[in-house]
Structure formats: C-alpha cells, structure tokens
Symmetry: C2
C-alpha cells in the first residue's frame, strides 16, 4: 500500500490528519523525534512506542558514513536493523553535509565533502541520496536540496532555488528508477527553499508541484533569521500548498513554535531541541523550561512537571534527577529525554484533539499562557 494522507478536520488553517502506509498511521500534527544514528539518543525503541511516537527521523548522512547503507540494506533495511516497526522519515543528508562535514565544493552534479568522522572524501548527489534512503527502506524520502543559512544575498537565494529545483527533478527521477530494499513502499517529499523571499519560495513551490511530490517540506528556515521572518515565509507559502498533501516544517522547534506552526497549517515537525536539551539538563514542561541540573532543585521532592504522567514524573523527583546530572550518570539523560519527548508528543496529541473539536485557538492561548508563565522554576 503506498502512503496515503487524509485530512480529518480543519480549524482555521490548522489541520488534523492521518498519514499512513502499511507500517502504520501517523496522526498529524505530529512531532518526529530525531534518531540520528539509528537511535533516538538514550532511549530504547520500546520507549518510543510507549511514548506514542508514530514516526521518527533518521539521518542519511550519518548512516551513510556509519555503518553504511550497504550494511543496513543487507540486514533488511533500517527498520529491521534498529528494531523499529513504525514509520521512518529520512532526511536527504544535505543539511549535515553543510553543517557537519568539511565542505569542499558544491557543483551542480554533486557536493564533494570530507567526513567529520575520519576525513575521508565523499561525493553526494541527488542520485546517491536516493540510493542511500531507498537502501535504508525509509517510509518518507526527502529530496536533496540546497539549504542556505541566514543572512543570505538575494542572488545566492536565487541560485539556491535553481539548484534545489534541478536536484528535486533528479531526485524524483532517481527515486522512480531505484529499487528500494525489500518491503519498502516509500513516499517522496519535495523541499521549498528561497531564504526569506516570498517570491522565490513561491517559485520554488510551483516548480516542485510541477515535478510532483507526495508531500512538501518547508526548508531553509530556523537557520538564524528572525522568528517573524520565519512565520511570514510559512504563512505566505501556505495557500499554494496542495491541501491534500502533508506539509513538513523542517528542524522546528520550541513548543511555542510547534503551536504556531500548527496554527498556520503545518502537519509535521522535527527538531533535536527536546532531546539535545534534555541531555544537557534542561527539560520542557507545561510551565516552561526547567534547568533541572541547577542547585535550586537539589532538595526538591517534586517531579519535573507536577501533573505530568510520563515515566520520569511518575517515579522520580527533581532532586534525584539533579543528583544524577551532578554525577554524570546516563540515567539523568534517559529520564530527562523521556520527559521532554513525552511533553512534545503529548502537546501534539492535544493540539490535534483541539483541532478536531474546533477549539484550537482557545486551547493554544491557554497552552501558551501556562507555558510562558515561567512557573516551572517557581517555588513549591
């Protein structure tokens, strides 16, 4: 069964939908935990299931370098390799090439770069990105795009859109030609670039629609531009998005960003923020961020987020989690990650319910008021 997408409810621009293939369903709006190296750091796959994650993200660049897509294909694809039977979206690898690798040269044919692991040379092309993602058995494959950071000259943004469209067409052709690993039935998403220029983004989206994709992602945002510019780009592009295809805002963001994205019609999100922050001792709660490793919590018997039903909050105190961070114990990172991902996923589930009940605006106002109260760090 190829991937399907159905919109169940609309409330203003916000949507509640279901993305599905034979592996299962993803209820949108959805947040995708990031599983960079075939693992969402510190968690087990059964934890992700228990948290209600229906789709996770895998990083093509990392898996291509280590352990290699050939090895993963040989072992039955990424789902079998990592013991995860629900959906996986893989990025194109491009973003990590720009941000992690020593970049040697971008040419229209391919990007030449040096591995951040061992300095070895590699060339990444749209064709190779497809080959890798299809060997992994990804459920949602992303085209290779030219992602540029902010600030950006208009001329460079134009060039970026041109290259993105060329690569999108080549990605589409390669995707249609290459046989995926057995059992996979992947969808292909295009990515809109164009910096903070609404006309360039409109042109990019138009070009992508002419090629034709199963979903459309908004890329090249949350790369340093003012937040107002980011939302302007999302809003301006939304009316041209095909309403029957999922929309994915890449690399975003904070709990507030998720609410603002849903409000504007975004269906899918991913971000390392909840997991990365958790590992460093900061968790997200219904009443804002909590730097649990702070000395203020050394004797605090309360859970991270009173009222939260996650594993960590049902069993452990701030004092204990703080002690574990002080000692450098990995259990600290596990417990904090479990909590913050629970909060993100539960927030998306609540947003979805609010859309279904036609009260998204009201729910969002209350959510943001509590979240911004800063009460998380308040006294007992």
């Amino acid at each position: 069964m190829p991937m399907t997408f159905r919109v169940d409810a609309v409330d203003g621009a916000a949507r509640a939908g279901v993305l599905a293939n034979r592996r299962g369903a993803v209820h949108t709006p959805a947040f995708m935990p990031v599983g960079t190296q075939a693992t969402v750091k510190t968690l087990r796959q059964s934890d992700l299931e228990a948290l209600g994650a229906e789709i996770i993200l895998g990083n093509t660049y990392h898996l291509y370098l280590r352990p290699g897509h050939g090895l993963i294909r040989e072992l039955g694809g990424l789902h079998a390799f990592m013991g995860w039977n629900r959906l996986i979206l893989t990025d194109s690898g491009g973003f990590q090439v720009w941000s992690l690798a020593d970049l040697n040269r971008v040419r229209p044919e391919a990007v030449r770069f040096q591995s951040h692991l061992d300095g070895s040379y590699h060339e990444f092309s749209p064709e190779l990105s497809m080959e890798v993602q299809l060997a992994l058995g990804s459920d949602v494959v992303m085209v290779l795009d030219r992602c540029l950071t902010y600030p950006l000259e208009r001329a460079d943004a134009v060039e970026g859109v041109d290259l993105t469209l060329q690569w999108a067409a080549r990605s589409r052709a390669a995707f249609d030609r290459i046989e995926p690993v057995a059992g996979a039935d992947p969808a292909l998403f295009g990515i809109v670039q164009g910096g903070i220029h609404t006309d360039l983004r409109a042109r990019c989206l138009q070009g992508l629609r002419e090629i034709g994709f199963d979903g459309y992602a908004i890329g090249g945002l949350s790369v340093g531009e003012p937040k107002s510019a980011m939302w302007e780009m999302v809003e301006a592009g939304m009316p041209d998005m095909p309403p029957d295809r999922p929309r994915y805002l890449m690399g975003v963001g904070t709990p507030e960003d998720l609410i603002e994205g849903v409000r504007r019609g975004v269906d899918l999100f991913d971000c390392v923020l909840p997991t990365r922050n958790a590992r460093k001792g900061t968790v997200f709660t219904s009443r804002g961020r909590l730097v649990v490793k702070n000395a203020a919590y050394a004797r605090d018997p309360r859970p991270l987020d009173p009222g939260c039903t996650c594993y960590t909050c049902r069993r452990y105190s701030r004092a204990y989690v703080r002690h574990l961070f002080q000692c450098g114990e990995t259990l600290a990172q596990e417990l904090a990650t479990l909590h913050s991902l629970h909060f993100y996923l539960e927030t998306m589930r609540r947003a979805r319910r609010a859309v279904g009940e036609g009260r998204f605006g009201e729910w969002a106002r209350e959510f943001l008021e509590t979240y911004r109260s800063g009460a998380a760090s308040g006294p007992a």
Copy 2:
C-alpha cells in the same frame, strides 16, 4: 518486621534460602547489582524490577560525598530518593576509601582521607559509617572493616584483623544506638578479614560471632590473590559460619565464581563486573564472554546470546549493538547492561532451582561446560 533468613534446601554445601524483611524477599543464592551513586548505571529502577533483581547494593562512600546522607535522609531515605522499593544493602564505605580516595591516615579512631571529587578532607569512623548507612535507610548495613590487598605480610594481616574486630564492635554499638531514617528496620552484617591465612580468618569469624551479627560477609578476597587461595579461604571458613545466617562473598565475581561460591555455601554476591564490562562492550553469555564491539559482529544478525530471553536479545542484533558502541551511543551500554545483568540474575535463579531439586552438581557441570565452550564468539 526485622530481617529473617530461612534455608529452604541444601545440596552438598550449596543452599537455597530466603532473606526477607517488610520490603520484600530475596531468594538466595542472589547476585546484587551494584548501584554506586543511587543508580545501577544506565538502567532504570523499573528495569531492575523487570530483571527480577530483589536487592541492589548502594555505595556509602559515594552517597556520603554526593549528594550527602543528610539530604537523602531529609528526602525519606535512599529507597524514596531513588524510587526503589525493594531491598538495598549498603557497603561500609571502607573499600572505596582504600581504593578511590587519597588516603591520608588510618588510625584506630578513624580513617582520614581526601575526597576523590574535590580533594576535601573527611574522617570515616565505624560510628560515621553507621550514621550514614542508617540515614540512607539501608536494609543490610555492613560494619566498617579494615580491608587489605594482596600480597600482604602476616603481621599486617594480624593487625588488620585486630582493627576489623575493634571496628566491628564499635559498629555494632553505634548501630544499636543510632535511630535509622523512618521506616527502616535494618540488619547488620559483620565482615571476616585475615588475608589468605585460614587461622586469622577463623579468629576473625570467632570474634565477630561473639559480638553477634545478622549475617556474615567474607571480605578481603578477590583483591589480587590466586583464585585457588580465594576458594581455600571460603571453604576453610564455611564450617564455622552459623548455618542460620546469610553468607556474603564480597566483590565476587565472574559467572564461574558465582557457581563456585554457591557450591561452597555462599548466599550473596555483588560485583561491578557484569555492568562495568557491559558498558565497555563485553557481555556475558551462556557460552562465554562476547566482545560485541568487535568488527567481527558488524554484520551479525544474531542476538547477543541466541536462546536468551532478555529485552536486548529479543529485539536487537549483534550488528546493531556493535553499531551503537561504534557510535558511542549510550543505548549500547543500556542494552549490554540489560543483557549481562539478566544473565547473572537468571543464572542465580537456575542455581537456586537446581539446589532445590538436589541436582546442583550436575547443573553446575553442564553450565560450566557450555560457558567454557567459547561458542559465544563462534560462527553463525
């Protein structure tokens, strides 16, 4: 209800018993996972429950330094602090003072040392060790003993026994005087020292029995002496051990050591070996050790131990666990630790069953034959 100990079955010198207090029962022979800093490294308390651990060990030295026994007492004791409701045995802190701290001076009154964390000065006495362990709410408190390493002059061993007996008497008196944290009903174990001199060990045990303890530990072994000397000490001392009290062989050991200890009448064991090795990429299996991080397993689809029913073996391949070790992902350590502790605890459960059925010798022979076959690292 104070602690009780009952021997259910005897097979040769091997025993199957039950140690119990109001928190629960410990079926012996039992292996106690080591929870140094109020956490068995990388695991959650619910994991330990699922593994069937009925008692874990806490380290007095570490908890005294960080977060401090005052803080833990204030938060309701170690069980409440770490969210663990089953039994906890705490060591005296002495062994870590000898092995981790900068030791400044051993006097009969107290041991002066510098913290390995910040260089601060501390004095540890039998009285302070009792105060700390009773503040933690330990179920089994260990006396402060004078642990010496191998090789050892006889004169030093004599002095060590003298000091151990003095400190045992002072520990007993302090234990009887100090009020534990609310809800605790602790037992106190004595520790036999004496190097590899059977007469000194006999004298030490005799002295301890005159003071009177709820259980007797064999200390100062597995510190560098030949294995034959260790078993000679265990065997020689066993006939003088009160049969109605549990016997604890401290800091031992490998799976083979556990079998050999049970064969000679030991009821309790603890060791960092399974957990520490697991974190470094070596696991224990029914067919010997497996260095899973080795390149040989990069494409091995088999579980760590075919036939094993642990979480890791039911869900993950050697190839995946090896990949996680290669990437430095903490999930590698979690999965390896889960497996190796399962193997240790399951081995003890099987040993207990064999004792109950009067076939311990036969079972042990088969277990050791398979374990020593080295088949773990063999081809698929």
